[in-house]
């Protein structure tokens, strides 16, 4: 599975048209046995950038990536992606693959090929560059320690997806987490209250994990109500 992950910076006022073209044109055109438009998310009021959209397209394998490329560069997707390009000022494109502990183990056939109709879900979307030289140690620590934490210990924020960029697909190494915010109360507890000192002492997850990563960017997003996965 390859995920085509994009952060689109939109032109002022272009949000509704960008969403409409993506939902009504790109999504159905992308749907095939080896590719699906998977995810569409926009910023919450607490996000870093208010004029962004995050999209993900799932591609089965390298062949699917090649076919998608052909369709974009000179095929039936050319006009649609050209229209989307006029609605943004910038785009950051990455190719991601799931990490071995990725809770979702997403498969193409699990992704609806038509727009969904479900409530919007709030997410924390983490972009994490590991400490230099600690890439595999980061993966080991996430698998062996973070995944063993309970939902209570994680303050009601549940990891749903974990990916990394692959060679040829953007900044390397860089890790991505998409965590569902199960309740606003959990989020308020996390961001609005001071973290007790004992959580930051030697031997704690917060302290130990700093050896493998001590910088990240979190975007507080919400899925579109029609996003195929949410």
């Amino acid at each position: 599975m390859i995920l085509l992950h994009q952060v689109h910076s939109l032109r002022p006022g272009a949000g509704p048209e960008f969403e409409e073209v993506t939902r009504d044109q790109l999504l159905p055109l992308t749907a095939s046995g080896t590719s699906r438009f998977a995810f569409y998310a926009v910023p919450t009021g607490a996000a870093l950038h208010q004029d962004e959209v995050i999209t993900m397209i799932a591609l089965e394998d390298g062949n699917a990536l090649g076919r998608f490329s052909d369709r974009v560069r000179g095929g039936d997707l050319t006009n649609t992606v050209g229209r989307l390009a006029t609605l943004r000022t910038d785009v950051a494109t990455r190719l991601l693959k799931p990490l071995d502990y990725d809770p979702s183990q997403l498969r193409i056939e699990d992704i609806p090929s038509a727009p969904s109709h479900k409530p919007s879900v709030s997410y924390m979307h983490d972009f994490v560059p590991p400490v230099i030289g600690q890439n595999r140690a980061y993966v080991d620590m996430m698998r062996e320690h973070y995944m063993a934490l309970t939902e209570t210990e994680l303050s009601g924020v549940v990891l749903r997806y974990s990916w990394e960029t692959v060679w040829g697909g953007g900044p390397v190494p860089e890790m991505f987490n998409l965590s569902e915010i199960r309740s606003p109360t959990a989020l308020l507890q996390l961001v609005g209250k001071e973290i007790p000192g004992e959580y930051k002492q030697i031997g704690s997850w917060m302290w130990d994990a700093l050896s493998v990563r001590d910088r990240w960017t979190t975007r507080l997003l919400r899925s579109a109500t029609w996003s195929p996965i949410a």
């Binding site: 709030s122 989020l187 308020l188 961001v191 302290w207 507080l220």
Partner: protein, 212 residues
């Protein structure tokens, strides 16, 4: 009033030392026309990891000049060098505070949530000031975002066309309500067609932060 806005990318394991250094330096920083107004963190889960924001005020650019020399070669040099060793980067910029001088006080209080907006605008400074004033003047008092201050670049149109707006999130209840229905746009703050880009920071004040 002159305002210096500092965005610190702190070395994670120096987080506590960094905040303590600032808190203990307040008496030294509040001198000769200068004052440390505000200290806040981007909370975990809400933005950049281990990012701190400080705001310092100066009566005029002469006071700013004197403070710069205190940091470089004066009585604050040793403290400043120590603080530099606790962060990866600092982005420091100078502005003019467009609202009344804030009220500051000593002592601890419960941390509060804020949203600091950097608005990139499409009109010159004079029109920006007028439009922001109009929007802020129309606030009803019950929105999620309560504008408490805003500031513009010291060099006006000679610099980036932007305005910084500091909004207080009105209450925990307002925050919970916003995420109970995440499709509902947040009300309050500064909006308008003259805003062409909005970059925001969710921030939580330190309990000793002087600005109340």
């Amino acid at each position: 009033m002159i305002l210096v806005q500092d965005i610190h990318q702190v070395i994670a394991r120096r987080e506590v030392d960094f905040e303590t250094s600032y808190r203990e330096a307040v008496p030294s920083l509040n001198a000769d026309g200068g004052s440390l107004l505000w200290f806040a963190w981007a909370p975990h889960g809400g933005g950049e990891g281990y990012e701190a924001i400080t705001l310092s005020s100066f009566s005029d650019t002469d006071a700013l000049d004197r403070h710069q020399e205190r940091l470089r070669y004066g009585d604050l040099g040793e403290w400043w060098a120590a603080v530099e060793g606790m962060r990866y980067t600092l982005h420091s910029s100078t502005h003019v505070l467009e609202t009344d001088a804030p009220t500051v006080s000593e002592g601890d209080r419960e941390p509060a949530l804020y949203r600091l907006d950097q608005l990139t605008v499409s009109v010159p400074l004079a029109q920006t000031r007028q439009r922001v004033s109009e929007v802020v003047g129309r606030q009803k008092g019950d929105e999620i975002l309560d504008v408490i201050a805003w500031w513009t670049p010291l060099l006006g149109d000679f610099d980036q066309p932007s305005v910084m707006v500091l909004n207080r999130i009105r209450s925990d209840e307002a925050f919970l309500e916003a995420f109970a229905d995440p499709t509902k746009p947040w009300d309050g703050g500064v909006h308008g067609e003259f805003v062409v880009r909005r970059d925001t920071r969710l921030l939580r004040t330190a309990r000793w932060s002087p600005w109340t």
